[in-house]
Symmetry: none
Subunit: 191 residues, 4 copies
DNA sequence: CATGAATGAGTCTTCATTCAT
DNA sequence: GATGAATGAAGACTCATTCAT
């Protein structure tokens, strides 16, 4: 629905400009060009609105990653690693201000469950991809997928949150690819 | 000072039990067995209190990691990887509820700068350690250290925030060690 | 607006009954029969509310004086003096408790600017009137107007603040008229 | 006592620098180089301290004026007017920032009584002076003295509070003298 | 007498939520 | 359905005053 989309957009704008604490329902409604009351016609409360916005974006990332995993089935692990990194980064860094703002929501009470749920999808897709590798043998694909994705996530988060210098971004993809290639390579099947 | 310690403890307790939003100055004071006014005798405002608590714990972790890096100078990279992982995990998982609670503070406005500042110390120590490896050549030790630590951080965070099943903890150290060993191993000097 | 009027009235009542320091937003809201939040729907903060109340009343006085000045153009200075005193006193003493309460606001940080701004209007109107006197020549009408009005203001304030015995009020107008008549008379043009 | 003097000085400094609201007992004590507790050894509460400071300065002004009145006994009214204005202005404008700050205290609950009490002294001295004039007959010297002083006070206050442009100060004494000369001159005894 | 940490009542202000229009 | 004024609970922070040392 157009209204819901307007709310999502408005929420993200207020979030990035004013921060989570100043992201009030009134401000979001105003930005979306509607009244506060209308917000409550679509979401039972503020948290639900924020959760929906977070979920939508997490799903987009997950979807992108899952699709990539799908396409990489049967390819060698080295290619898997580079494709996975590429897809994940492209999705997360498409709009850095948004990705960054969403971390704040995820840190809220209830955010963890949401992230966990969607993470599971990504892990499943990745594990499934890994299991299809012709040149490697993963005893526990789910575990390997989890470690891979969380490691990747940690690096991206550090970049977005500013924990590391921005110029680090340039070689991020290269290093991340190297990291996963090396890791997944450990499970390469002896020819 | 005893009062400051009581405030730290109380803050962490309220934080873990009520969450960041409900971690009010009044509640902290009450839990610490003092009045609100006393809190403001030691910290100019709520954010300063939270930042102090966060900083103290981050410094402890950083110190532990730095000390380990010191001790691993000159050792082979494989050992470095396993020692680094071991030290980092031991520090972060000592009290999981506290580590978890602190993520919320770090996500607050101003938290990023603090994390970035202390992260730099860890990166420096780690890079210095890497540069001393007899069996590897790192073109850019700082970059490698950054990637290593953020990847490790991402995995630990996922565990703490519950993004991954708790039983995953058992093999975490093993997998993380594998991850870093593989990554750092890429830079092993050809004999 | 009815709500704004209610706030003005309530503010003045609280001000006269409890004094400026005890004139809290909550008390004003309560007296106005509404909740605190509503006060902030009309004024950004307490100072703005107080300033608005002060301004409204100062403007009323200024308007009254200005209108009188308008009507006295071209009249002899003696008449100007008596009309000015009469109008000023009528406006200021209409509700003594209100006039008195407003002095407290004017003494607040920011109040001076407001008073100065509105004073300028009165001075301008008075100076213009003086310049039109057929029987006098004022080198600097603005200066004379300023001295006249501030002198008048000082006397009225002393009465309102209780610096002088209340029974003094009876002959106030008479003496004030005498004061200004004598002063302005100094500039009477020699026939 | 030295301590009391230090408190007076400190209070005035804090008052002029931070304003009445931010003139806290702790800040005053700190400025005076002592602890809060000591303040309460000399004054029962904050209001008493402020009142004492106000009173001291008002007394100084009153004393100056009274002394001048004493010296002007028997002189012609024109001279009385000029001497009175001169003395009053010299006292009030000696330190404008202090005079200005004290208005804030006077506007407080209880300040009026204090001002009224000390005003009475000045009025008495002035009335007595007027009664001794050889060239004038004042039916009610007290009334005339009151009007004269309040008018003078109003003009000075307007200047100090910034209600009128500062450059106005230059001709203030001249105009104020003219004002009183003209007023008192109305009672000149026909030769 | 001096000290200054502790107190806690009291302010201002914000904001999620409701509901009469 | 939309509106947005009204609500009032809750939070951060201040500061006059006390009292144990």
């Amino acid at each position: 629905m157009a209204t819901v989309d307007a709310l999502h957009t408005a929420t993200l704008q207020v979030l990035t400009q004013h921060g989570l604490v100043r992201c009030t329902t009134t401000r979001v409604a105003e930005r979306a060009g509607m009244s506060v009351g209308s917000v409550y016609q679509y979401y039972p409360n503020r948290d639900a609105l924020l959760a929906a916005v977070l979920e939508k974006h997490l799903l987009e990332v997950a979807e992108t990653v899952a699709r990539t995993c799908e396409q990489c089935r049967g390819k060698p692990v080295a290619e898997m690693a580079s494709e996975l990194v590429s897809a994940y980064l492209a999705a997360k860094l498409r709009d850095t201000s948004i990705s960054k703002a969403l971390y704040a929501i995820a840190a809220q009470r209830g955010g963890a469950e949401l992230v966990a749920r969607i993470n599971t999808r990504m892990v499943t897709a990745t594990a499934s991809m890994l299991a299809s590798a012709p040149d490697a043998d993963f005893e526990d694909p789910t575990l390997i997928a989890t470690v891979s994705l969380t490691a990747l996530g940690g690096t991206v988060r550090a970049l977005l949150e500013g924990y590391v210098p921005p110029l680090f971004e340039t070689c991020l993809e290269q290093q991340a690819t190297l990291l996963l290639t090396a890791y997944l390579g450990m499970y390469r099947r002896p020819a």
